[in-house]
Symmetry: C2
């Protein structure tokens, strides 16, 4: 038996749309993988799913943990054992925190641990991508940071080139995540985006994305927040579909956040700060703004940047 | 009297189109500024221009050095002296090496030196921008690195936010610059670009631009060259207008360059390598490719990254 935890992730981070994401500490999903004699060799069975409010499929070909677990078995070349998986959801579904990616990452790490951790995390991203493609679209900006931790730049898909961006170890970065009781389906949030954009917008967003990466590598939290806040393509189009989002962003900045944007495809709002106490105050302001500006209840928490990514939390042999 | 030198610059660097540039060591323009009693107070006179083949204007409102010199006087608040400028062109005109920017930068630094260097280099960029706007379009990706040295990220224009990107001091970076005998007017090279681009191209180029910045800050020369080579928007459209450019790029890579693209709006081709000797061999291959593929004669040289930018080279008092 091997049990693995994979963290929540914030994709896009403003001008990093579709190529940048990072992991946050403490919030995430757990998958327990076991070799089972009652499962046909080379196959996977979803034995239990908890914390999802009964919404996730037990069909191993539709469940992210099942798909990623199976893909990991194939990468490992495992054909003589059958596995059963249990998934404990810590993440809310469809909230913009990389819920499907965390399940896939935890499953991949748990299955890999059962067979001596033969695959690297970068290889496990391949398994996670297969799951993401089925469940929420072929994109690595959640599953790569969930597996690898920290910030990950997705430079290209063919070949898959992932560049870890190391935020300086001597600095702390805190994210305020405020999730309203509201659904913003990724599909719908994709549909509001245009197929073409203005060349000037392209140059502007590219330079902001470049500033964002500079801020990460140099540990410049103020610049990071400011650049994250500066997406002029995606956020302005998605924000109107999240009631109160504009007010929430304003409230975060007024409460002292260095920046604020939509996490992933939303509806979670993410703000950036350099301390837990400031983070709590910022979160309270953002919650109030969701209620006043959007008539939405929400929950707010402060999380540190996760530098490690998915990890094995328990193993045992029967 | 004050004499200043300002280096040649490579703008765009592939996916850094319109927001990134860097300076190269040793190649550039010189401007000599003198207080002259025969020039009306607050005014500037262009006394001499050499090295331009007689092509540059002596009209101080049309000459880049004249415009930038005057703008610098205004920033300094100089109203009681008249100045005369002499411009010594070291850079070929319209070659994609920031010729107008180098003249403007040298003039700004020379005039500033006459009055105690009261302005910072970042302030002098404002003067340079005024000149660039008249002569080649409002853009800082040549004049900012020519003044400041190294790599400069132009994050935004209003407000003007320039971010110096420090390439690690313990590493050397060499550029092979090959300039064919051919004119590629910036205006024409602008006109071949579309007003809108595909969203997928945007994401792809943004991620390559982010990789380019990562490579600079981490001193990863191979990644730098590779990312510089990966622009899928501008270079493919401009390359066909520079005879032989596709063959030159191929020849550079085959000769061991880490990457190759068009410098600025061209026609100069720029390749990246980590040593002078390799650079010379790469340059010879590129020259041969310009001749074979484009029927163009060219000159090739290898330059180190300039980390210092425009500088005063001589001062004297009469």
């Amino acid at each position: 038996m091997a049990k693995a935890f994979a963290p929540a992730t914030i994709a896009n981070l403003g001008p990093g749309f579709d190529f940048l994401g990072c992991a946050v500490e403490g919030l995430g999903d757990v998958v327990c993988a076991e070799i089972s004699e009652s499962v046909p060799p080379g196959e996977i069975l979803i034995q239990k799913v908890t914390g999802d409010g009964g919404r996730l499929s037990y069909n191993q070909k539709k469940n992210c943990a099942g798909i990623a677990g199976k893909a990991t078995m194939e990468l490992l070349g495992v054909t003589s054992f059958g596995l059963s998986l249990s998934l404990f959801k810590g993440l809310p579904l469809g909230s913009g925190l990389g819920s499907s990616a965390a399940s896939a990452a935890a499953a991949a790490v748990a299955v890999n641990a059962l067979f001596g951790n033969a695959l690297t995390k970068a290889q496990l991203v391949q398994a996670g991508l297969i799951s993401e493609a089925v469940v929420s679209g072929y994109h690595a900006d959640n599953v790569a940071p969930s597996l690898m931790g920290g910030f990950v730049l997705i430079r290209s898909y063919s070949p898959l080139h992932l560049i870890p961006l190391n935020f300086p170890l001597n600095k702390d970065l805190f994210f305020v995540l405020v999730t309203p009781v509201f659904e913003a389906p990724t599909k719908k949030m994709r549909a509001v985006l245009p197929n073409t954009i203005d060349m000037r917008q392209h140059v502007s967003n590219c330079s902001q994305g470049a500033a964002l990466v500079t801020a990460i590598l140099e540990g410049d939290i103020a610049l990071f927040g400011n650049a994250m806040s500066s997406d002029s393509i995606v956020e302005p189009l998605r924000s109107p579909f999240i009631p109160g989002m504009a007010a929430v962003k304003l409230a975060a900045i007024q409460a002292g956040a260095h920046g604020c944007t939509i996490s992933g495809a939303g509806p979670t709002a993410v703000a950036v700060t350099d301390g837990i106490e400031q983070g709590k105050a910022i979160g309270a302001s953002m919650k109030a703004a969701f209620l006043e500006g959007g008539n939405l209840l929400s929950s707010a928490s402060v999380y540190k940047l996760d530098r490690r990514g998915a990890k094995v939390v328990e193993t045992s042999q029967n």
